[in-house]
């Protein structure tokens, strides 16, 4: 059901991006990258946030399976984070003439957030499975979530802007048709992430049960 919704929303988003949303007067066709780049970045933040929430449940309620859910959400977040960096670099190359610039806090902070969560896997796989690993990973995931608002607000705190600011305190700075397209693309990305999260989680649970069954039978 969720997979069908994700597929439908993705098709609708692509149709709206290329046939409904107007070509930006300032940036031209390259602005079309915005409709995937920003929703992917927001989805990465949402995945990290979900991972942190599950990590909190590990520490707070000792909920069985929450550790694995937190891990899968962070894994999704890292994948969407990598996609944000790649699509952002492509957009930067057209708009600014460079693939990357270290002078932009928004970019550097997103890279820091991404690398922080990449290191999560090094921590996870360097500790033996068990309560100690669950606690360490949960604490690490909760620390990482603090970087999300910092990364999101960095552009508003920056003094010299290259990276465009679309969402301000006065609302989204774009036409209604552009905002509607953006909302559909965001819903599509969240539905896609939700589908991949459920599929990956299902695979991991099935894998664990089969391993248990094999141990019982042999």
């Amino acid at each position: 059901m969720l997979a069908a919704l994700a597929a439908g929303l993705l098709c609708a988003a692509i149709a709206l991006i290329f046939f409904y949303a107007p070509v930006d007067a300032d940036q031209g066709l390259s602005q079309k990258i915005f409709y995937f780049h920003v929703p992917i970045a927001f989805t990465a933040y949402a995945c990290f946030g979900w991972g942190a929430w599950k990590a909190l449940l590990v520490l707070w309620k000792r909920k069985p399976g929450a550790d694995q859910e937190s891990y899968v959400a962070i894994h999704q977040g890292v994948i969407f984070g990598a996609l944000t960096l790649i699509t952002g670099s492509i957009w930067a190359k057209i708009s600014w003439g460079v693939w990357w610039t270290w002078s932009e806090r928004q970019l550097v902070l997103f890279l820091v957030l991404f690398l922080f969560y990449c290191a999560y896997f090094m921590l996870r796989f360097s500790v033996e499975p068990g309560p100690q690993r669950e606690n360490l990973c949960a604490v690490y995931a909760l620390f990482g979530v603090v970087l999300i608002p910092v990364s999101f607000l960095a552009i508003r705190l920056a003094e010299n802007f290259i990276h465009p600011t679309v969402f301000t305190s006065r609302g989204p700075q774009m036409a209604t048709s552009q905002f509607a397209t953006f909302c559909v693309a965001l819903a599509a990305m969240i539905a896609l992430a939700g589908t991949l999260y459920r599929v990956e989680l299902l695979g991991k649970r099935l894998d664990a049960r089969l391993r248990e069954l094999r141990e019982l039978l042999t």
Binding site: I79, L192, L210, R214, L217
Partner: protein
């Protein structure tokens, strides 16, 4: 095709390629799990038959 069009196409292809690769990995995993279920079913059957 203009330079802008090429870059926009590249950005969208990256996302599309990710979805395809992810689905391929999941399909491979499902194939492995299906094989394991078959092996375990066979093992359980042999156990039951003594």
């Amino acid at each position: 095709m203009s330079v802008s069009e090429k870059y926009v196409a590249a950005a969208y292809l990256v996302v599309f390629a990710f979805v395809v690769v992810y689905l391929a990995i999941m399909a491979l995993k499902l194939t492995r799990l299906e094989r394991e279920v078959g092996e375990l079913t066979e093992l359980a059957r042999r156990r039951m038959n003594g």
